[in-house]
């Protein structure tokens, strides 16, 4: 269906014709310079011997060779895959579920919604400490449950190199799932109740109703949620630093912590830039087709 306003044919009124583009152009200009320009800059840096500050001694592919020789980089990539997919899926499931439940004329809805939403307001600089304590077997959940008399209870994920990445998922879901819930709730409230009533009269089961009619209509909400979540997953830095610092050992290293550490802590800016380039390429590989297909369907 048509979305576009047909422009009036008026050859003289150039300004009116160009106005929308003029309004958009500053945004486009800054993004071209400060995003795409910087990507290009980073791309160039990744072929140089930059260490503490950018320098331009060409070293070819050396940084990339070093990067893929590093054990920590492989771990970081694996972790991002595990963390990113779990995080996005769980957030969507929890967010959608809570939104559906909260949409059932719940008493004190506003209050509950605020509770679900507030974690987004807190920075991980400190909630990290609270989570760290809570997950620590010596002082947190495990200790409390054991003090209640359930001696066999064990919850030591944060200390276990194989499980630690999942504790990061728990804390990350805690932070954003409420926001995702709000997005879905907004979507649910935007759906035509008439259609639902008609379907209900036709005898559709509750489950079928959600599956066939309601959830498909939430597609824009899913898209927004996916973009928000994917961006949070890739940028997760504060969270990992606050919770595990990349440990135990290097078990919870993610690309963002890797890149920061090589660029700024280890003074190997060239390798840091190379990791940023690989990161961006992977993001592009996932996001570009996604954005493309979403945008095409809107036409």
């Amino acid at each position: 269906m048509p979305q576009t306003v047909p422009r009036r044919v008026s050859g003289t009124d150039w300004l009116r014709d160009a106005l929308p583009k003029l309004v958009l152009s500053p945004s486009l200009a800054v993004v071209l310079v400060f995003v795409y320009g910087f990507i290009l800059f980073t791309f160039v840096l990744s072929f140089t011997d930059s260490r503490i500050l950018p320098s331009f001694g060409w070293v070819g592919l050396e940084n990339y060779q070093k990067l893929f020789g590093l054990r920590a980089w492989g771990i970081a990539i694996d972790n991002l895959l595990i963390f990113g997919s779990l995080y996005i899926v769980i957030c969507c499931v929890v967010g959608l579920g809570l939104a559906i439940f909260l949409d059932q004329k719940i008493r004190a809805e506003g209050f509950i919604r605020t509770i679900y939403l507030y974690p987004m307001a807190l920075s991980f600089i400190v909630t990290g400490t609270a989570w760290k304590w809570f997950l620590d077997p010596g002082i947190g959940l495990q200790a409390v449950v054991r003090s209640w008399g359930w001696e066999g209870f064990a919850f030591e994920w944060i200390k276990d190199p194989k499980m630690a990445i999942y504790t990061i998922v728990i804390a990350a879901v805690w932070q954003t799932s409420g926001f995702v819930m709000a997005m879905f709730l907004a979507g649910l409230r935007g759906i035509d109740t008439e259609v639902m009533k008609a379907a209900q009269i036709d005898g559709a089961s509750t489950f079928a109703l959600y599956r066939r009619i309601i959830i498909p209509q939430l597609r824009p909400a899913f898209m927004s949620a996916f973009v928000v979540l994917a961006h949070m997953a890739i940028k997760s830095y504060d969270l990992v630093i606050a919770l595990t610092g990349g440990g135990p050992g290097t078990a919870t290293e993610v690309p963002a912590t890797f890149m920061y550490s090589y660029t700024f802590t280890r003074n190997q800016m060239g390798i840091g830039a190379a990791s940023a380039v690989i990161m961006l390429m992977s993001i592009a590989a996932i996001m570009v087709p996604f954005i493309y297909s979403e945008l095409r369907e809107r036409k």
Partner: protein, 309 residues
């Protein structure tokens, strides 16, 4: 999209009509409702737990924390950590507490949020109602910009800010946040305006209304809910940002997160966890306030049925 088809049918659809909010689909017997409340309650616990840890420990003397028992209620209740975090804790050389840094943050956050929201609204308006050849590409480029890792842009950004004479200034910081906020604010507004009946815009245009008039008279009045979402998002991100705030500020413009970080991250000193937690909650209060206050309008806006089909 199904919802769009009917959206244009009536102008009333865009005005607040106070339609009922909940769609309540699950036909509920007693047990189902109990189960729903139970689940919602359990999730409340999940979301509140870290806050509990923070609040409880911010009301204890430090000795109690050091002796263990970080999860238990205080034996000696005290509000001293709060006073300390606010006005006497050592942030740098001076023992100022977090107080002076609030203003710095507000001076930065308010303009940055306002500007990026307005810009996002304009962009969304153009991209949905004044489409042109290649607009999808433009939107795609803006959207992909959301994904750039901030650590990567630090050095080139510093260089350009220096060249523009904005290094270490509040306008510089606002500019940085504006640049990296465009992607999301445009996304929010575009998705929202997409549902908005284009026929109305066309009709106004035939009546001779110009680009800005249509925006002001027709689009803006119905943008409440999405503006709230956008403001919440931008406010949270900018208020909580540490990396840019630390790197692009000067001694007299350091935002609150930098101060909080200084309070919390001392490397070789004694860690006063109770003061840290008090400070953290305090630092989050403005965002919490935005959530509580704006959250209400958020829902009210949604209930007004502005995006109802």
């Amino acid at each position: 999209m199904a919802s769009d088809v009917r959206a244009g049918a009536s102008a009333a659809a865009i005005r607040p009509v106070g339609a009922p909010g909940s769609s309540q689909v699950i036909r509920t017997g007693g047990t189902a409702r109990v189960a729903i409340y139970l689940i919602l309650g359990l999730f409340c616990l999940y979301y509140l737990l870290p806050l509990y840890v923070m609040v409880v420990n911010s009301l204890k003397p430090l000795s109690e924390i050091q002796a263990g028992g970080m999860m238990s209620l205080p034996r000696d209740w005290t509000v001293e950590p709060w006073g300390k975090a606010w006005s006497t804790a050592q942030i740098g050389v001076a023992a100022t507490g977090l107080r002076p840094f609030f203003l710095n943050s507000i001076l930065m956050v308010v303009p940055a949020v306002a500007l990026s929201t307005v810009l996002g609204a304009m962009n969304g308006y153009v991209l949905t109602k004044w489409r042109f050849r290649g607009d999808t590409w433009v939107f795609g480029m803006l959207l992909f910009a959301c994904f750039i890792p901030f650590q990567m842009v630090l050095i080139p950004m510093a260089r350009l800010l220096g060249l523009m004479g904005l290094a270490g200034t509040v306008p510089g910081l606002i500019f940085v946040h504006l640049v990296y906020g465009i992607g999301f604010s445009t996304l929010y507004f575009k998705n929202y305006y997409q549902q908005f009946p284009t026929e109305l815009v066309r009709a106004a245009q035939i009546d001779g209304a110009g680009f800005f008039t249509i925006f002001r008279r027709i689009m803006l009045p119905s943008s409440g809910p999405i503006a709230v979402v956008c403001i919440i998002w931008q406010f949270t991100n900018i208020w909580n940002d540490f990396l840019f705030g630390a790197s692009f500020s000067d001694f007299d413009s350091q935002p609150m997160t930098v101060a909080l970080n200084n309070l919390v991250q001392s490397s070789t000193g004694v860690k006063e966890y109770n003061v840290h937690f008090a400070g953290a909650i305090m630092a989050a209060l403005p965002t919490l306030l935005v959530y509580v206050v704006a959250g209400r309008y958020f829902v009210r806006g949604l209930m007004a049925g502005s995006v109802k089909g």
